[in-house]
């Protein structure tokens, strides 16, 4: 897998490149500018540099303004979570005229269980899913990337097709199966499938990554008498850390945000995860409790936000090369 942040063109877009605005480095000339270029006179380069600077400033203003509009609802929710309920409906501004932490204490205790209970449930489901995906998908990916076996191409195609399958097609029989196993209202229906590599998307991601790891490495190890188990564990896994990190991060965020399957498999308040608990706010309480609802919404977003902060590098790379969100 070549690194898309360093493309063949060699343009380090990530670095701070302002040379664009410097005259002479590269023409961004329009036809008229080209025509005017004919008699070179002294003051023009400066004027062109100036207009480029003006354009760049305009661009930044535009980008910042648009970014603010994009983030405003989020910031507004954050601000509202600190406002007494009456103010939420009157103030579109961000700075609360009165700060009230009551929303957080009220929200925390508003449902059957304290909100920490739901956070813990979500954490269990998420950690189980992350672990499951890391182990099972990397095992399968190793086989597809490095082993020769009969029917490899066919199985690989089946694996790719399973990525496209909408969950709705299998959810009813899955429900029947899990309920006959008495797994409804346990975390097993959410975790066990991950241990069985049903998130085929990550198999694909890792296969792509493994293919980029030089074959000479494991061939040499094989000559030294290593079996596949050891090659997988000692050579591939350490080298595949970026792919593993991407898998872990996206599994974390998707599972944390997942609503559909948690809604179906968890029906007892005891077992509710964060999204299901949050949703009961909408049902149970009227419009009067927006404050506590926002406060707990903010709480529910914190883990995703933290993963976003620390995993940015992998997130961006993962999405740029594979298209996952």
């Amino acid at each position: 897998m070549t690194d898309t942040t360093h493309p063949a063109t060699g343009t380090p877009t990530d670095a701070v490149v302002t040379e664009d605005a410097v005259p002479g480095t590269r023409s961004r000339s329009t036809l008229s500018e080209l025509a005017a270029d004919a008699p070179p006179t002294a003051p023009r380069p400066r004027r062109r540099a100036q207009s480029a600077r003006v354009r760049s400033v305009l661009k930044h203003v535009l980008l910042i303004a648009f970014g603010l509009v994009m983030l405003y609802p989020l910031l507004w929710m954050l601000a509202s979570s600190f406002k007494p309920s009456a103010l939420i409906f009157r103030e579109p501004g961000l700075i609360p005229s009165a700060v009230d932490l009551g929303n957080y204490t009220d929200g925390w205790n508003a449902l059957t269980h304290p909100f920490g209970h739901y956070l813990l449930n979500s954490a269990i489901v998420v950690l189980g899913s992350v672990l499951g995906n890391l182990v099972s998908c990397s095992l399968a990916a190793y086989a597809f990337a490095r082993l020769q076996f009969r029917g490899r191409g066919v199985w690989f195609a089946i694996m790719l097709m399973s990525i496209m399958l909408p969950i709705h097609v299998v959810i009813v029989p899955q429900y029947v199966l899990f309920s006959s196993l008495e797994w409804i209202n346990t975390f097993l229906p959410l975790i066990v499938p991950k241990l069985l590599a049903t998130d085929a998307f990550f198999i694909f991601l890792m296969v792509q990554f493994f293919r980029g790891i030089p074959k000479e490495l494991d061939e040499a190890a094989r000559l030294d008498g290593c079996g596949h188990g050891r090659i997988y564990l000692r050579i591939m896994m350490p080298l595949a850390l970026p792919a593993l990190a991407t898998t872990a991060i996206f599994t974390f965020i998707w599972t944390w945000n997942d609503f559909f399957s948690q809604l179906i498999f968890l029906t007892k308040p005891d077992m509710y995860t964060v999204p299901i608990a949050l949703r009961t706010f909408v049902d149970a309480t009227g419009q009067s409790s927006w404050g506590p609802m926002f406060a707990m919404s903010i709480v529910s977003l914190i883990p995703v936000f933290l993963v976003f902060l620390f995993g940015q590098k992998y997130l961006v790379k993962g999405i740029a090369t594979t298209g996952i969100k």
């Binding site: 070549t2 930044h60 980008l63 399973s162 029989p173 049903t198 198999i203 740029a320």
Partner: protein, 307 residues
């Protein structure tokens, strides 16, 4: 791996067939095989069977042939849900991709602070599918919501957008457009792969920026546009959380946000018509598969590969 390569679908590289690793492969693939049999393929077959039965979870399924499928075409709520879903998909996805491409173009040419902008625009994509954001949307577009507060500042009297049948779907479209960050990052990666020399050559030939955009950027980017299009269409067809939360699980007002998946959920897990829900699921698969197939066919005429 280049994005363009991926957009085209990576063909498995065929290694020289040496000595077989059958046993090792069976071990490494064991979890996946079990998962495929029990969690994916088995349930697929079962749901196909159930789609021809009357099944309410409590009694054994009884075979009713094509009745469920026929019933779908006589079910006005289902037909409405199809219309709602198609409207949502075909309005929100093009807008979302246009925003993604526009911003990617603005960010492309070595801009100071690119990483910061990229993060800001990407964040909504990560959060957009969460219940918290759906709750936020419900308030923002509510009668006392942020939108109306802002409108009031300029003297316009708004209304309850999420509670009005004409506008509720629009608020969900807005939510989907808001999450343009993910396709934007893919566009950015694609833009970087266009060789700079093309632009240099074109500008020596006297091509202006607009001409360069039309004759170089767009054609070179078509594989990425195609990739994003297929991906976002598939995603949008399966949207559920937003409509569920914004409408309080009802698809209201007046079924105006009754996504196909939401109706499927209500039929299957609300009124326990599992056979009917299974038939609906297979019809969804048919729609998504058919649409993806048509997309691939059409791509021959507008997607340009540079080699």
């Amino acid at each position: 791996m280049a994005v363009t390569e991926l957009a085209r679908g990576t063909a498995a590289r065929r290694p020289a067939r040496k000595k077989g690793d059958g046993k090792a492969a069976a071990l490494f693939l064991a979890p996946w095989f079990v998962g495929l049999a029990l969690i994916t393929a088995g349930p697929m077959v079962a749901s196909l069977y159930l789609s021809f039965t009357d099944y309410n979870l409590l009694q054994a399924p009884t075979w009713i042939g094509w009745d469920n499928y026929q019933r779908m075409f006589d079910d006005p709520r289902l037909l409405n849900s199809l219309q709602v879903t198609f409207t949502y998909v075909f309005v929100s996805v093009p807008l979302q991709l246009a925003a993604a491409l526009g911003l990617a173009l603005l960010l492309d040419k070595g801009l100071r602070g690119l990483a910061v902008y990229r993060s800001i625009y990407y964040l909504p994509s990560l959060l957009g599918g969460s219940v918290a954001i759906a709750i936020l949307w419900r308030q923002v577009f509510g009668a006392d919501g942020l939108i109306n507060q802002v409108l009031a500042l300029v003297g316009i009297e708004g209304q309850g957008w999420v509670s009005h049948p004409d506008y509720a779907l629009g608020t969900l479209v807005a939510l989907n457009v808001w999450t343009f960050g993910a396709p934007m990052i893919i566009f950015l990666a694609g833009l970087r792969q266009i060789p700079r020399m093309y632009y240099e050559a074109a500008s020596i030939d006297g091509a202006g920026r607009w001409r360069q955009f039309r004759s170089i950027t767009v054609p070179m980017l078509t594989p990425i546009i195609f990739f994003n299009l297929v991906l976002q269409l598939i995603n949008a067809f399966q949207s559920f959380t937003q409509a569920f939360v914004v409408s309080g699980g009802t698809g209201g007002p007046a079924d105006s946000t009754m996504f196909y998946t939401l109706y499927l959920y209500l039929k299957g897990f609300g009124s326990l018509e599992m056979g009917y829900a299974s038939a609906m699921a297979w019809f969804l698969l048919l729609i998504i598969g058919g649409m993806t197939f048509v997309n691939f066919l059409a791509s021959k005429y507008w997607v340009f590969y540079d080699d």
